[in-house]
Symmetry: C2
């Protein structure tokens, strides 16, 4: 299993090249276009940086902050972000431990926006979880909050960067920080009232980063494995991408905290730390691609285009 | 059929509200949160702007620049952009008219990046089309090129905006402009050589805008209908999201120019013009959402978050 994000140039199948040459083009593109050690002075590619990373560049997921969303098609793994949504994370843990989500469904899939799940009928009791929560849309930006700032300009926030492997925005003027709506981020749906979100209905971003949602709703975590099980769901044909008929709902078999699952059934994952020279080098390797395919380095990287690698625990 | 893009806030099913109230939340969110005429002084919502648009705010698609990509699941409609890729558009027209794509397949689906189609074997002849083309990665930014500039900052380009209903970047210093890699944009895959793209292998952006590709490859157009038929395809499990087995390929029944299809089989679509006060108002309505759901207006809009509405011809 390799869950480290791969992304590269757009090779062609190489008309009129034979198939062997085509494969080579793809592999070279994947590796960044150069053989290891070919030129010591050149910048390293992402693959080389990942390959040379140290154990200390990674941190394991905390089982108390790891959710397993089990669908018929497989398991989606979500890392909660209690640094930014302490009360929502506690509510979601309580709901998961009560089996609240078991047998509920994915009810919405809106192209280039979100997939959303919860109780279609709105009748299931929340157990010990709170029905309303204070709006954890931003947190105080104190020295205690990890914040590795990107030098790149961003239109949605005066400052952007990473906090403990999550993408964040921040405003030094008002000393606030918040999770950013990047691809794969998970949030708690709410109604018009700011305190109406409680974690019983969750959404995940499946399209271009809808950063206008930042500071308007509580993000609670990020999908770190199995994103494709959500992003490929048939789009709903009702308003806002809701499924129109109950038979279109995608059943949720269960949602469990990793901490509550027998060790043998857990997936050992670790995420790259974002406060390290290794991560800084990775960002630069993506800001200015150095390979045989790219001709013009971008000279910039948008917050949500920075990969935050995840891998199986060695 | 309504193909105008809808996107709005993230309602919950409204625990503990009854179902009727839930539905109301969604509909209100869709309409922008206020009834028409409630307050003449307030900014208009996107729905109101679309509803009040004039026929002159729209232009029909040119059948000579409209491709129908026919899959078993339905038809994808692509608008070509010859202003930016004149030679690629001509090559693609030639290939379509020769039936080049018929019976070929979608061979790649990489999560949060691209879906790509072409000849898996690389053996099919190109007919009268060119095997190589000059790299149409940028065009001269002359006064003849329509360019409605966005005031919003962008990290990937000194200037961004719209040209004839396509998202574009530009650099006044070198007088160059280029199509931008937003969700739904279609480009011509190439190998490492800059002239190796020819339009026989095409990709579409299905994830967060990979703007680092701008100026590195020729974009040729945009999906204006049926995007969900591509974005929901199962992800490939090979390197870079390629399908590993031929039986996973998604067959292409045909690719036709609308001009070559009997009038009764065409889909009459029109796209909103981007050089009008109506479009400017629409952009502002998305830059600073004014409804009962949004609490903090973004004060900014990223180029690729601006919807470019498409609708059936009245």
């Amino acid at each position: 299993m390799t869950v480290t994000k791969r992304e590269s140039g757009l090779g062609t199948t190489g008309l009129p090249r034979p198939a062997a040459a085509c494969l080579l083009v793809f592999v070279v593109a994947m590796l960044g276009g150069r053989a290891l050690g070919a030129d010591e002075a050149r910048p390293r590619t992402m693959s080389e940086i990942l390959g040379a990373s140290k154990p200390s560049d990674w941190r394991p997921l905390d089982p108390e902050n790891t959710l397993y969303l089990q669908l018929e098609a497989g398991r989606v793994v979500i890392e909660l972000a209690p640094d930014f949504a302490l009360l929502h994370a506690a509510n979601i843990r309580s709901l998961a431990r009560d089996g609240y989500f078991d047998g509920l469904a994915i009810i919405r899939s809106q192209d280039n926006f979100v997939v959303q799940w919860g109780d279609p009928d709105g009748k299931r009791g929340l157990g010990k979880a709170s029905a309303t929560l204070p709006p954890e849309f931003t947190v105080a930006w104190t020295p205690a909050l990890p914040f590795t700032r990107l030098p790149d300009v961003d239109g949605y926030a005066p400052a952007v960067g990473f906090s403990n492997s999550f993408p964040v925005g921040g405003d030094p003027a008002v000393k606030q920080a918040w999770l950013a709506h990047c691809y794969g981020m998970v949030g708690a749906g709410r109604s018009n009232e700011m305190d109406s979100g409680n974690g019983a209905e969750l959404y995940v971003v499946i399209g271009n980063a809808p950063r206008q949602l930042d500071r308007n709703i509580a993000l609670v975590g990020r999908v770190v494995l199995g994103m494709e099980l959500l992003s490929t769901l048939p789009r709903g044909t009702g308003p806002l991408g809701f499924y129109e008929k109950p038979e279109q709902y995608v059943p949720i078999e269960s949602v469990r905290l990793a901490a509550d699952v027998p060790a043998a059934e857990r997936i050992g994952l670790e995420v790259m730390r974002t406060d390290t020279p290794t991560f800084e080098a990775l960002v630069e390797s993506r800001r200015n691609r150095q390979d045989d395919w790219y001709k013009v380095p971008a000279g910039h990287i948008e917050l949500c285009n920075v990969p935050i690698p995840v891998r199986p625990q060695p």
